[in-house]
Amino acid sequence: MKKHTIVALMQDQPGALNRAVSLFRRRGYNIASLAVGHSETPGISRMTLVVESDDVEQVVKQLYRLIDVVKVSDVTDDPTVDREMALTKVHTTSATRAEIATLADIFDAKVVDVSTNTMIIEMTGTPAKVDNFVEVMRPFGIKEMMRTGRIAMVRGTNTHRGAEYVESNGHVATGAVLN
């Protein structure tokens, strides 16, 4: 099954996220990752969702249909910048501490907390690079880990902005996938 990355802009309203996510639940699709936060436009949130499925076209159209959803794109095959952040709490001893710090450095990661037998490392990169980093840390003993899930943005001048939708006060063609 193919992994799809879907980017959606939606009104920052109670229930909006719930409605969007429900469409995937209804079909029994598992959401591999989900990241939501503010976009460049006040009142508009941006969501990046990764889902494993062979057929997302229909769900993407149904996402469009939701009143809160302003724009949706399946950016899986577009050139994108993809990032994910992980916080990893690794077990350390006096013997391993230096080695772990060096490895973190190689991955451009930052040590953000140190205790007598742990270290928290902040790591940002493509999801693949984060995978890789996690594998490298595993032998030392990962005590805790949290990944944010992928966030994605299409490269170049193509924009996926909320502003144009909000400023025009509701007069934008949504669901314009076919026209």
Partner: protein, 578 residues
């Protein structure tokens, strides 16, 4: 206008501003402030007290489906709200404009399992077009405005507004100067011209073209445009269950209903056609049968206002997102002159001749109406034969059907002519729809006769609304129960596919005529074919609502039939009672 109002008064004024005249509901603790305020506005806002919130919801649907206006239903929090779930889901499936208003516990105790608290916005999220939880009085004006806008525009549907008790009780000077802020909602009405021309090119190249129409044609009021399109091109027209009435069945280009209980010649025509123009239908599986085998030779043009319907079940060559009426008008505008259409016309008329031949060899409607002459029992077909004759003599009628065999017979055996005269629960198939929906339609159209055709099963789900009918003085509901002593449609499947294991389908009931009389409406029992016409005429003559209990032959099947999951090319046509 700078007077302070309660939230409940603001709700009433918002409803009046939206043009609401009647609402169907049942009060309770969390919605009491609204009922308190409603009293002051009772001259403008009629409230119909129903006997069950499901009935209130279906009544609002019947009102909406028969008028095109938004239907409004009301329930209190908790069980009042959950009782509305079925009609809300029904309205979602059939794109019925509905606003459901529910009371909610006070915001201070929200989420704390307060008495009669139910997360109704959570429950109805997947079965509403949109819903709102209102906790602040200042949100009421814009929420009502948005709710009615969303329910009635684009592809219509149900919107639920859940309002906490404290928001109803709070006071403020309402600010009615609210703008719609719906950046994510802009239905596309105007079809893309390029696609319209593409559609015409495809139609012009066809040898065996078909037009199939659904609910979208009725909702957009495209009946005249559709007729012009059919007549200009000479293309045969199919009406789906929800398309019934969009095109008069006595028109020479009308060929009838497709699908599970559609006519053989219609389904065969679909399987043979080379271009299929679907206007405002969603290729429901009851229409397509096994979708992968549907219309194997056809290139499909699909006009729908909802882009997520296009390509969902059937592969589409030319998609057009737009309102049926506007797109058909665009098709007519772009259509070449009569002379250029000559080839299409001659192909279409040869094709029509072929379809009529198929119709003559396979079952024709009349064959089902003509029953063997056995006076001892009452075949359901005799009831329909008399009904279609008598209601069309009187005119000015609508027929609401419930769900089951009687529903399919009604679709097949009654001659349908006008839009919004056939009202049924199609997408959800909700038993219990007909009596309350007929009541809603009767309130909207007091000068018409509103027939409800029910099974004995469905009638027993919501017949308590007969009490509402009496209390409201509604005189124009005439209920015909096709009483076969079974959950007939399920029994039919058991007979045909489960070796007659009638598990959970034999059904008893009270004496329906006496039950009707107990409610205060006229009750009539019919056991023989020769009493049918008299009973229907009596129902017309009687100045009040009527229930006729037609005790029909018990084990009659609806034919033709496409077994579930089979191709519409494989129909069962045999009738065991002949």
């Amino acid at each position: 206008m700078s007077e302070e109002k309660t939230g409940a008064q603001i709700m009433c004024e918002a409803l009046i501003r939206e043009g609401v005249e009647v609402m169907f509901g049942i009060p309770g603790g969390a919605i009491m402030p609204f009922y308190f305020a409603m009293w002051e506005y009772r001259d403008q806002l009629r409230h119909v007290l129903c006997r069950h919130e499901q009935g209130a919801g279906h009544a609002a649907e019947g009102y909406a489906r028969s008028t095109g206006k938004v239907g409004v239903c009301i329930g209190t929090s908790g069980p009042g709200a959950t009782n509305l779930v079925t009609p809300i889901a029904d309205a979602m499936m059939d794109s019925t404009p509905l606003v459901a208003i529910t009371g909610q516990v006070s915001s201070a105790v929200l989420g704390k399992d307060a008495f009669q608290e139910t997360d109704i916005t959570g429950i109805t999220m997947p079965i509403t077009k949109h819903n709102y939880l209102v906790k602040r009085i200042e949100d009421l004006p814009w929420v009502f405005k948005e709710a009615f806008h969303i329910a009635s525009t684009g592809r219509p549907g149900p919107v639920l507004i859940d309002i906490t008790k404290d928001a109803q009780q709070a006071r403020m000077v309402p600010d009615w100067d609210v703008k719609l802020n719906l950046p994510g909602y802009k239905p596309n009405y105007q079809g893309n011209r390029k696609q319209v021309r593409e559609a015409i090119r495809l139609l012009m190249s066809a040898c065996k073209p078909l037009i199939m129409v659904g609910n979208g044609v009725i909702m957009s009021g495209a009946t005249e445009e559709l007729r012009a399109l059919a007549e200009r091109t000479g293309i045969p027209v199919i009406t789906t269950l929800h398309g019934i009435g969009a095109f008069p069945e006595d028109h020479p280009l009308s060929i009838g209903m497709p699908g599970m209980h559609g006519w053989v010649h219609v389904n065969r025509a679909i399987q043979e056609c080379d271009v299929l123009l679907n206007i405002g239908g969603r290729f429901d599986d009851r229409v397509t049968g096994k979708a992968s085998t549907f219309a194997p030779n056809a290139r499909v043009i699909h006009i729908d206002i909802d882009p997520s319907e296009i390509g969902k079940n059937v592969k589409v060559t030319v998609p057009i997102v737009g309102d049926a009426r506007m797109v058909i008008s665009a098709l007519l505008e772009e259509m070449p002159d009569r002379s250029e259409l000559a080839t299409l016309h001659s192909h279409a008329s040869d094709w029509m001749e072929h379809i009529r031949e198929m119709q003559a060899t396979h079952q024709h409607k009349q064959q089902y109406i003509a029953r063997p002459d056995v006076p001892m029992y009452l075949p359901p077909h005799d009831v329909y034969a008399a009904l279609t004759r008598i209601v069309n003599q009187h005119g000015n009628y609508r027929i609401v059907t419930d769900v089951g065999q009687h529903q399919m017979w009604a679709a097949q055996l009654i001659d349908w002519h006008r839009p919004r005269t056939h009202i049924t629960s199609g997408g959800a198939g909700t038993m219990g729809f007909a009596v309350p929906a007929a009541m809603g339609a009767a309130i909207a159209h007091p000068d018409e006769t509103i027939w409800a055709i029910c099974g004995d099963g469905g009638f027993q789900m919501t017949n308590q609304e007969l009490a509402t009918i009496v209390q409201e003085g509604i005189k124009n509901v005439k209920v015909a129960i096709i009483n076969n002593g079974y959950l007939g449609m399920v029994r039919q499947w058991q007979e045909l596919f489960e070796n007659k294991r009638y598990s959970g389908t034999p059904l008893s009931g009270p004496d329906f005529a006496r039950l009707a009389e107990a409610y205060g409406v006229r009750g009539i029992t019919v056991e023989h074919t020769d009493e049918v016409a008299d009973a229907i005429n009596t129902a017309y003559e009687y100045d009040g609502s009527v229930v006729i209990d037609f005790r029909v032959e018990r084990e009659v099947n609806v034919f033709p039939m496409v077994p579930q999951g089979k191709s519409i090319g494989d129909m069962i046509t045999e009738s065991p009672i002949v």
